[in-house]
């Protein structure tokens, strides 16, 4: 039936205007929750772990948070725009890392290698964006893309370790004013994406498309452009993460960054971004990454087993997500 309306009308049931705080209040509350969680985690860590706040340890935590954080921040626009998540995260970042190391190892100047990595990843990202915008499920699309990328890289490297050899990148593990390079990049990237999402027309459109895709289309917002834009940002983040990891480690295999997909997803969820889109913030995804890194670090210092660490990380994600959901419902009932 092409005619307008078989659906029930959208009556405000029981419906006067409800008194209520602004839409921003919810954002502020979620932000407060993430910041609060980090503070609590740090407080607990200081109590149970000597030397937790030593410069070296803080630096270690931030370095651990940086790569996951960059990817989580970069993936947030995809989630915000209603395209769920990418399940091909590890494979793409790993491919970026392998390409970078392989090029540098054969004598390419790092700047040229970075350019190649960027172009390659953005191209792959745009293709995925086009497929998703054409109506394919983003989870399936990215999962399939991840498998393809993984297969191609595995074949190309023969499963062997790729090394930079004598062409090690000089800035690989450098610090600027005591701040590790990747931490600085993490900070700048978060500022850039966060500002883009709140201030730019394109960022606003991404959020609106995620909030209600049908309304967005009727309002003249192109879902295709939004989706491709989100995938481009994601790809840039993956390229940065891959290059930084490659420069830092100097070698890579297809198994590199193996926990990246799940950890970046956890960071986004802990940051309170709605998995269905329309609500969330790159800033909080960054906070989520830091939170996970803090918890992980405490457990390492306290000699938790690998299995125990994973279990606790999973539990933390569940607790924070449940807490966020509970907050949201409580506010909606009122």
């Amino acid at each position: 039936m092409s005619e307008a309306s078989t659906a029930p009308p959208a009556t405000a049931r029981g419906g006067q205007d409800l008194p209520g705080p602004s839409a921003d209040r919810r954002e502020q509350l979620s932000t407060a929750l993430v910041v609060g969680a980090v503070v609590v985690a740090v407080a607990v860590a200081v109590a149970v772990t000597p030397n937790f706040l030593s410069v070296d340890n803080v630096r270690a935590i931030l370095r651990n948070a940086a790569i996951v954080g960059i990817v989580a921040v970069a993936m947030t626009p995809i989630t915000l725009s209603g395209n769920f998540i990418s399940l091909g995260t590890q494979q793409s970042a790993m491919a970026a890392m392998v390409i970078f190391i392989a090029l540098v190892g054969t004598g390419w100047p790092p700047a040229a290698a970075i350019a190649v990595v960027l172009v390659a990843l953005v191209a792959v990202g745009v293709i995925q964006g086009l497929v998703v915008a054409a109506g394919l499920n983003p989870v399936i699309t990215t999962l399939a893309a991840g498998a393809i990328i993984f297969g191609v890289v595995a074949d190309a490297t023969d499963g062997q370790i790729v090394r930079v050899g004598e062409h090690a990148v000089s800035w690989g593990n450098s610090t600027i004013a005591g701040v590790p390079l990747e931490v600085l990049v993490f900070l700048l990237f978060t500022i850039a994406v966060g500002t883009f999402m709140t201030k730019s027309v394109s960022g606003r459109r991404m959020v609106l498309a995620g909030a209600n895709r049908e309304t967005a289309e009727v309002s003249g917002i192109s879902f295709r452009r939004v989706t491709i834009g989100a995938f481009v940002i994601f790809s840039i983040g993956l390229a940065i993460a891959g290059v930084l990891s490659g420069a830092g480690f100097g070698e890579a295999t297809i198994q590199s960054l193996s926990t990246l997909t799940i950890e970046s997803l956890a960071a986004i969820l802990v940051g309170g971004t709605a998995i269905t889109g329309g609500y969330g913030s790159p800033w909080r995804s960054a906070g989520g990454a830091v939170l996970i890194a803090v918890i992980s670090n405490v457990m390492v210092l306290n000699d938790f087993s690998t299995g125990g660490r994973l279990a606790v990380q999973g539990a933390v994600v569940v607790i924070v997500v449940v807490l966020l959901e509970w907050l949201r419902r409580r506010r909606e009932v009122r």
């Binding site: 092409s2 009308p9 027309v201 309002s219």
Partner: protein, 469 residues
């Protein structure tokens, strides 16, 4: 007994209390003369109270028969489809659905049939007091007749019915007594026979409603939009009309008549297979929605929750969503000040509270949500507004405000095309009225040459045999 009142007057709250969904703060409820506690809902059901909600609670992919036993106690955990289906047939016959096969999946039913199925589900529970909460809001006139006939039959069988509605006509056709709600208070019930439409509206608003519909302006004969030979899927004959500057053109017809299809094609939301669209002497293409928007068409569908609003985003962001480009600076950033100024301006023109621009739209009443859904287009400085059912599910007060705003827009030189199945609305609001029937434009004439009876005949004509007794 009819329950009437604007949105937020307290009808739904009372219904919830009777259904046992909320606990009364004070007061007593008597059933059959004895005090009764209806909270929680189990007790309400035991007392024989049943509510037919406007949102259907059937499972769409299951069959009619399966839905009838769903949620009932005393159903065996394994059943034979045959026994189930014959029991279902009996129940369906009671609600006038004897022609529906119990094996049909519910998703294949029409909206009216689903509504009647809801009633049948309550009869299974042997409910004696039936509460209908706006049962006809989504139905066409003919379907309404069908539902009302069934309700009348239920009453004749000795059941009592409380009927919540926005549609005054139904009150007079169906009910014995009327209780009007206003601002959370109820007025004493009155026999329906002693009231007329004006009296009821006065009680609802608590003031005289002299002009629900604003006065019309004299039209200058200056064509704004000419549509010639338009064809789209759902239209069987070419549609043509001219919209003048400052005119409100009403397209009316039943569901599937082609009225909605026509504006959807003009909005670029449906493929246009033939025809010319001329805007101000210049032929334009509106084959994509984007092109339609770029040429100055604003479009609002009948289902605002689905594609009219961003429920959880702020009013300001809703209003600015179609014109973000025009408030962007050179690097593509939103100018906050430009956005706020224009959103405030729109809010003023559409009687939206400017203090609440940062509130999520979901917190607004249906009427105010509708103002946001329509008002956002003002920021694009549109030439033509295409509106489907602009006041569906909107209370009387907000309706009047929407009508006034639309009329004011016309005075500034816009043309508006309104698709509506609400006859009084079409007659009261529009300058010119076109009727549609089964994919054809069947007549077009100025409003003062039309009457409600004639319009009703036009939109249903050609086959009186299909009219429901």
């Amino acid at each position: 007994m009819a329950l009437l009142g604007e949105n937020g007057a307290g009808k739904s709250t009372l219904v919830k209390a009777l259904a046992g969904l909320i606990e009364p703060d004070s007061g007593t409820i008597e059933v059959d003369g004895a005090p009764a506690t209806l909270y929680p809902s189990g007790r309400s059901q035991a007392a024989g109270v049943a509510v037919v909600h406007q949102e259907y609670s059937s499972v769409p992919t299951m069959t009619v028969a399966e839905n009838l036993v769903l949620g009932q106690s005393g159903v065996p955990s394994v059943w034979w489809p045959r026994a189930l289906n014959s029991r279902a047939r009996e129940l369906l016959a009671q609600v006038g659905l004897e022609d529906v096969d119990p094996r049909t999946p519910v998703e294949h039913l029409t909206v009216a049939e689903m509504q009647l199925l809801e009633v049948a589900r309550l009869l299974v529970r042997d409910a004696r007091i039936l509460i209908f909460d706006e049962p006809t809001a989504a139905l066409t006139d003919r379907e309404i007749d069908r539902v009302l006939a069934v309700i009348r039959r239920l009453v004749e069988d000795g059941r009592s019915v409380i009927y919540v509605t926005h549609r005054l006509a139904e009150v007079f056709r169906l009910t014995d007594r009327v209780t009007v709600f206003r601002n959370g208070r109820s007025l004493p019930p009155e026999p329906t026979g002693e009231l007329d439409v004006d009296a009821v509206i006065n009680r609802m608003l608590g003031r005289e409603l002299e002009a629900m519909f604003p006065p019309r302006d004299t039209l200058v004969d200056e064509p704004l939009l000419a549509v010639e030979g338009l064809l789209a899927p759902g239209l069987v004959a070419p549609v043509g009309f001219t919209l003048r500057r400052g005119e409100i053109l009403g397209l009316t017809g039943q569901l599937g008549s082609g009225a909605g299809t026509t504006v959807q094609a003009l909005a670029g939301r449906l493929p246009q297979t033939a025809g010319r669209v001329v805007l101000k002497d210049e032929e334009i293409s509106v084959r994509t929605h984007r092109a339609s928007v770029d040429h100055g068409f604003g479009y609002c569908t009948a289902d605002r929750k689905r594609d009219g609003i961003f429920a959880n985003r702020a009013i300001r962001e809703n209003l600015s969503s179609p014109w973000l480009d025009s408030i962007a600076n050179r690097v593509g950033w939103v100018s906050r000040r430009g956005e706020r100024e224009r959103a405030t301006d729109i809010a003023k023109r559409f009687a939206i509270d400017t203090e609440r621009l940062e509130s999520p739209v979901a917190a607004l009443s249906g009427g105010n949500q509708q103002k946001v859904a329509v008002g956002k287009w003002l920021g694009t400085e549109p030439q033509v507004l295409l509106l489907e059912e602009p006041t569906r599910g909107v209370d009387v007060g907000a309706r009047a405000e929407i009508y006034t705003s639309l009329r004011r827009l016309c005075a500034s030189g816009l043309g508006i095309v309104v698709v509506s199945s609400d006859m009084p609305e079409v007659l009261g609001l529009c300058d010119t009225i076109a009727t549609f029937y089964r994919g054809r434009l069947t007549s077009i004439a100025p409003h003062d040459q039309r009457s409600e009876e004639e319009l009703a005949r036009e939109v249903m004509h050609h086959d009186p045999s299909e009219a429901v007794p």
